[in-house]
């Protein structure tokens, strides 16, 4: 039987216990955070859009995956509910590509800052990351193995 492939667009997250492939592509200035616990066969992927929810707490309540902090908290809660543990957790952070010249306005840099601040706050450690630069990326999280596959989108196809 084929494994379900679930694509997460910006503002979406999913947690699965069992077999599945969670996938986010065309990650530009947005960010994706993957978490997996291979021991318990649980994993999740969050693809968020914006760093700060202060400007719109109502929207963060309705769509937590829109923002870094509310998204990471929602992902963790669903992960724990599905049986994932922090002790066995592996985390990967992907994205936050920058637009040159954008300075303080740059979405990618602001998203990465928000991710690190939130993860520090929650006492979580990143095990793998591919962040910054200008190229787009994608991440696949294979479950229940918990294997991450991260790549930059190539310029040109064979």
């Amino acid at each position: 039987m084929s494994v379900p492939i679930i694509e997460l667009r910006p503002s979406q997250f999913e947690v699965v216990r069992g077999s599945a492939q969670l996938y986010a592509s065309r990650i530009g200035g947005t960010c994706a955070l993957a978490i997996s616990d291979p021991t318990h066969g649980v994993g999740g992927l969050l693809h968020w859009l914006l760093p700060a929810e202060e400007s719109d707490p109502e929207r963060a309540e309705r769509t937590p995956a829109l923002f870094a902090e509310s998204g990471i908290r929602a992902l963790l809660e669903a992960y724990r509910t599905a049986g994932g543990t922090i002790d066995h957790a592996h985390l990967a952070l992907v994205g936050g590509a920058s637009l040159r010249g954008a300075g303080a306005l740059d979405l990618g840099s602001r998203n990465l800052l928000a991710a690190r601040r939130t993860l520090d706050l929650l006492g979580l450690k990143i095990h793998a990351e591919a962040v910054g630069g200008v190229f787009a990326r994608e991440i696949r999280l294979d479950l229940p193995t918990g294997r991450f596959l991260i790549r930059e989108l190539p310029l040109g196809k064979p």
Binding site: R9, P10, S11, R26, I27, G28, G29, T30, L49, L50, A52, S55, D56, R59, L66, A97, S98, L99, R100, G101, A102, G103, A104, L105, L107, G108, G133, V134, F135, A136, E152, L153, P154, L155, G156, K157
Partner: protein, 280 residues
């Protein structure tokens, strides 16, 4: 460096634009377009009419009653919205193609172009620009040059990627390796197709809006629209975010930097809506 003459010859050898598309694109630049004038152009092509009526009856545009004729469609949506729908329908076939040189899968450039079109219109509406339809069309066609340049990128990607990794923008890397960049080439295609001068200028200067000799506004709207779309990752392909952003466009357009996140949410919602319309 590739022979730039061969690239420019490719533009000159392009067939003329489909007649409805070229007439409708010219109409976008006109301040007032009468319903009768629009019907006269569109009704010549049964395929265009059928596609237009189909789109008018999708949930995004449908009212309580189905639209069955062009006149009903105009009554419901108005000439400006209808013009934009015709341009969308007419450009879909060439914007949706796979561009192997750039690493765009089939549909990537279409989604990126639609994203920039929606973003440019959103920004134009936010600043009460006089012609949001023209901003939309400029956004939709801003990367026209990539369609022609794509084939010439074959075998050059490694060098282009190296230049980008060292700090060049995609346009700078294209100029260094191929002798011409996609914005200039796109403007030449638009000129070849006799599109309005305002549109050709928008395409040519979408990466350098303050160099536009005949008005900065439209190029600035598309420049900022392109940035928002890149950040969101809409139709993002191999070149990624390798553009140089000019933050002065915010001041020029009178948009506060604090407004950018709200615009990103709005744009993301509009694109999700288009996505579900097409999936329906």
């Amino acid at each position: 460096m590739k022979d730039i003459r061969r690239i420019l010859e490719r533009v000159r050898d392009l067939p003329p634009a489909p007649i409805v598309m070229s007439q409708v694109v010219r109409m976008v630049d006109e301040p007032d377009v009468g319903a009768a004038e629009l019907v006269k152009v569109i009704e010549k092509d049964v395929g265009v009419v059928a596609n237009l009526l189909r789109v008018c009856n999708t949930p995004q545009y449908a009212g309580t009653r189905r639209v069955a004729t062009l006149q009903e469609a105009i009554n419901r949506l108005g000439t400006r919205t209808l013009l934009q729908l015709v341009v969308l329908g007419e450009t879909h076939s060439f914007l949706k193609q796979e561009l192997k040189g750039y690493g765009y899968s089939s549909g990537d450039l279409w989604w990126h172009s639609l994203g920039v079109a929606e973003a440019s219109r959103l920004l134009a509406q936010a600043i009460h620009h006089e012609n949001a339809a023209l901003a939309f069309t400029g956004g939709l066609l801003h990367d026209l040059g990539k369609i022609v340049l794509d084939v010439f990128l074959a075998g050059e990607q490694r060098e282009i990627r190296r230049l980008i990794s060292e700090g060049a923008s995609l346009s700078e890397a294209e100029s260094l390796v191929l002798g011409v960049e996609h914005a200039e080439l796109g403007a030449r295609v638009a000129e070849h197709w006799q599109f309005p001068e305002s549109l050709c200028g928008t395409i040519r200067f979408h990466h350098q809006p303050f160099a536009a000799p005949n008005g900065v506004d439209l190029a600035a709207l598309v420049h900022l629209g392109d940035a928002l779309t890149h950040w969101l990752g809409i139709g993002l392909g191999g070149p990624g975010l390798a553009s140089q952003f000019d933050p002065r466009v915010l001041d020029h357009l009178g948009i506060e930097s604090g407004e950018v996140d709200r615009l990103l949410i709005l744009l993301s919602e509009r694109i999700d809506q288009s996505n579900s319309e097409l999936a329906a």
